[in-house]
Symmetry: C3
Amino acid sequence: MSIFLFTDFGAADVYVGQVKAVLAREAPGIGVIDLLHAAPAFNVRAGAHLLAALAVQIPAGSVTLAVVDPGVGGVRDAVVAEIDSRWFVGPDNGLLSVLAARAAKVAVWRITWQPDALAPSFHGRDLFAPITAALARDEFPAGRAVRADRLQVEFGATDLGEIIYIDHYGNAFTGLRAHAIGRDTRIVAGGDALAHARVFSAVPPGEAFWYANSLGLVEIAANGGSAAAKLGLAVGQPAAYSA
Amino acid sequence: MSIFLFTDFGAADVYVGQVKAVLAREAPGIGVIDLLHAAPAFNVRAGAHLLAALAVQIPAGSVTLAVVDPGVGGVRDAVVAEIDSRWFVGPDNGLLSVLAARAAKVAVWRITWQPDALAPSFHGRDLFAPITAALARDEFPAGRAVRADRLQVEFGATDLGEIIYIDHYGNAFTGLRAHAIGRDTRIVAGGDALAHARVFSAVPPGEAFWYANSLGLVEIAANGGSAAAKLGLAVGQPAAYSA
Amino acid sequence: MSIFLFTDFGAADVYVGQVKAVLAREAPGIGVIDLLHAAPAFNVRAGAHLLAALAVQIPAGSVTLAVVDPGVGGVRDAVVAEIDSRWFVGPDNGLLSVLAARAAKVAVWRITWQPDALAPSFHGRDLFAPITAALARDEFPAGRAVRADRLQVEFGATDLGEIIYIDHYGNAFTGLRAHAIGRDTRIVAGGDALAHARVFSAVPPGEAFWYANSLGLVEIAANGGSAAAKLGLAVGQPAAYSA
């Protein structure tokens, strides 16, 4: 069993270590894996589609702390969801909802517990990390949560026709799942209509193309360079397919 | 027991892995937590105030390797300090001194041991990591250090009226502790006098404000955007309060 | 025993966590150390020289997943190499070849195994990580690889007169090993001919110099600032010495 972290806290920033300090204290000896701390900041919808694609890589039985939470300290609820045998802890702001909508089996709990000290701006450390640790110790709900019928904010199961993530090579992930799209389809993004290639080395150096990436998403890439820089792509821009 | 790392080595850079290789060899099985590797480079005073605020999150009994060390290879000493039941290892250049000055109980050792191979530019790997591992194994001082009366470089306990850190969202931490500041106080930074808000969602999108952050520091933030970009803030700039 | 990771996957990006999920599943309980995920992207030769210098820090008996692989999904082979009692897993594109050429003892296996699901763009997760885990469990080759005479792509043992890495302080590492270079030699890079200094604090603030860095390489640095910014240095630029 491992604990996974999916946040917009920044891998290099001051927040992740504080979360890990809580986990080390409250769930000692359990491994913690940084799945991603560069989820697009302030963009819950993009994060929800990225998490839905990444979650396939999370083994059953694991607990994932998932926090992209621009409304922290405001009125949104805190939830735990068991989604196809994986546990997720985070805000009820839509972040877990794409994954949940595509799943076969979902159960939701609303967190009722409040820690003695709760920083209004850092529920990740003070609220979500202790609940994550309790799940990892198999001590949940233990009076800290009540069953709920469903998530309150739901984005639905359908694909998102937008750039949802740009990696450090400059590859642009879309919220479109590739399995249903024919290889002769063109993807329109940033004013260009891009053809498919199977791998980077199948196109000339510098040329942009789309392919089914390792998460099953349509990705816009360039061979040996940055597609985002070449095409002027940014998270939130539309991406669509045309036959 | 965990080992914590607080440095300006860069989370993505070539240095942290080398420190961890030493710790894995000399303190096998002990967890290592990256508290921060993005302490402001070359700025020991800002790092000292940031460490003093972060140290509250470090559990008693832990060992922290703390290195912001622009004078590495020069004349400054290397020290171990037990500060309110937490151990710290690092250069005697002021970095530990704010934390020490605010503590109830401090004991200092001067490191006398020198490793056979000591790279003049990387005491973190060759000197501080082995001492950190020895502390984690409970084998200290073991002839490697002598008691000292105090740190040689001391910045004192008082707040620092400067920006000491900017996080990846663009929030600017100051060296001012928030507990003593009234909520009707304005904070002056980058030419603006900012009012208080409790949480991000309490102000209109894009608006800048100050609040007591999750480390207890006065932080300048903006709702859904970068306060640092909006106000032109950088580490080292003055930040003051006016009634 | 630890597993080390040396890649260009980006420390903050979406790839390393997926590799670690595989390792946690297939080699549970074995520590994983991020040696570097910021190897220069697309530049196998620079990565090969950087890995050769860093490998000294890897303890004997360890397994290192080493991936800088712009040709992933194309025709290059996948290999395992035992180099001076350290195991390495990665593409046969030259990345391991500088280290191997300088070693006393090298044995090479060509990976013949293919996983059921192999993303053409992420052999790190689907192919190299399972083989790394098998080595860490001491279950190799187990029918997954065959002995080979040598690596197919070989860059040789000689130094590389180029900038191979720029760290986050702005220090520029060259592919020149320092042990054979006299301290009165000047290093020419970016149009400047730089003199030697032993440590940063030995030159005036802001001044650029070269020194033997903690990996044994000639490094171009500046006291308290970025040598790369000051001198306009980038990975791939020539660096040479003149008596």
